[in-house]
């Protein structure tokens, strides 16, 4: 979706402000919001692409006014409510008011280390030949899906070159819709800075994105 999350190339946000000796978190609620988000991935009621869509799918002014953990927490509430795991009256009451909906599994303390160490690899078995090879010229398609996509606006319509054929990976555009993992070839595609930003841009800059095959066409 063309939401506020797709920030590459926007102007007006000002300088980056690194915080010296920044703590990992800035408030107790951030700790809990972070941990709740991770723990609630365990039941398998949603996947990471659904989470990202829930985070970005809000009015741009609202997204930009929120801190990042506020975005995470708002998405968690949204997904819990959409799946009827939690209801609005429970959030207002601050207590469970209805029987829990059965879930496949929950995260127990004894599993935390192993679950984190294992992670969730997205590489899948190769079932077709890759359409592109290293150094092929490709154009990022002009697409504007209202649903989740990982092709940023700033590369759409522009010509680059395949730098690396990464492998077959879960396709977020499908996975976010609950339409299955639909693995697709994934490539690192490099673009000259001037191709993306025009002739006045810094000629020493090259930018790459990782793009799935359905995002690309021969150029």
């Amino acid at each position: 979706m063309n939401g506020a999350q797709d920030l590459g190339g926007m102007h007006g946000f000002g300088k980056v402000h690194p915080e010296p000796n920044e703590p990992v978190v800035h408030a107790e609620w951030e700790r809990r919001a972070f941990a709740l988000t991770l723990a609630m991935a365990m039941p398998g009621e949603w996947n990471i692409d659904m989470s990202r869509y829930a985070r970005e799918n809000r009015p741009p002014a609202e997204y930009l006014a929120m801190s990042y953990y506020q975005v995470w927490f708002a998405a968690l509430e949204t997904m819990l409510k959409e799946r009827a795991l939690v209801t609005d009256d429970e959030i207002v009451a601050g207590h469970a008011l209805h029987p829990p909906k059965p879930v496949a599994r929950t995260l127990s303390p004894s599993d935390v280390a192993q679950v984190l160490y294992r992670g969730a690899p997205t590489e899948r078995e190769i079932k077709s030949a890759a359409k592109f090879k290293a150094s092929d010229r490709v154009r990022a398609k002009t697409i504007n899906p209202v649903t989740h996509t990982r092709l940023p606006r700033y590369v759409r319509g522009h010509v680059g070159a395949i730098e690396r054929v990464i492998g077959c990976h879960v396709f977020p555009d499908s996975n976010a819709l609950g339409a299955g993992e639909n693995p697709q070839w994934l490539y690192t595609v490099r673009f000259d800075g001037r191709e993306l930003w025009g002739g006045d841009a810094d000629p020493s800059v090259v930018v790459s994105v990782d793009a799935w095959e359905p995002y690309l066409e021969p150029a």
């Binding site: 980056v16 919001a33 927490f73 997205t122 092709l151 994934l186 993306l196």
Partner: protein, 211 residues
């Protein structure tokens, strides 16, 4: 986003609970009462990323790459198993690529679409990494962003920006500072800053650390 940063410092003052704070607390209570989360598991998740997993992990990887040519070769061939050798693996680091800085090439990593970051080697991202100023400008004006960090590179140095749009996570291996010949991996790792592994900073020099 960053406009709210100044509020964070007041959150330790429990006399005034923010709306967000109350909502998070309420939701945790509901989820706990329904049996969806175990507060002890939440505590462990927090402890892991606040106390155990952080940029010191990445610094060990970089120091080893500087000191051990065979390890360096393995790291650039396939970083994920090379990093797992040191015990770092898992969530948000399932597929890692190591990027080699050279005198003519400087790498910088961003996630313009969200906050993708290699957790097992760098921990959780700093606020600026997730902020609109960084995400908007890293791809269009990387030299300007470097200036915000006080870093100036020679005009002839190429800048390569990696936008983490998939599940591949990127770790910059900065150049080994001169004057560190014969240093142990432990000592070398003290020179490796978090920002030098994102590409918004450079490693410390020998004179920057206490002898």
């Amino acid at each position: 986003m960053s406009g709210h940063d100044h509020n964070h410092h007041h959150d330790h003052d429990h006399s005034e609970l923010s709306e967000t704070q109350l909502r998070v607390r309420a939701l945790e209570t509901v989820l706990t009462e329904k049996g969806y989360v175990d507060p002890a598991a939440l505590d462990l998740l927090i402890e892991t990323y606040e106390k155990k997993v952080g940029p010191r992990n990445g610094a060990r990887v970089v120091a080893k790459a500087w000191a051990d040519p065979a390890y360096r070769a393995r790291l650039f061939k396939d970083a994920t198993p090379a990093i797992t050798e040191l015990g770092y693996a898992g969530r948000q680091g399932e597929h890692i690529v190591a990027l080699e800085d050279t005198p003519s090439l400087h790498h910088m990593v961003v996630c313009t679409l969200c906050s993708c970051y290699p957790w097992p080697v760098l921990g959780l991202p700093p606020v600026w990494y997730k902020s609109a100023p960084y995400r908007s400008r890293a791809v269009s004006d990387p030299r300007g962003v470097l200036a915000d960090f006080g870093v100036s590179l020679p005009a002839e140095t190429k800048i390569r920006v990696w936008d983490s749009t998939a599940e591949i996570r990127y770790l910059v291996i900065p150049m080994r500072p001169p004057g560190t010949e014969g240093w142990s991996e432990d000592k070398l790792s003290e020179l490796v800053t978090r920002d030098s592994m994102i590409g918004t900073g450079l490693p410390k020099r020998p004179q920057d650390i206490a002898p």
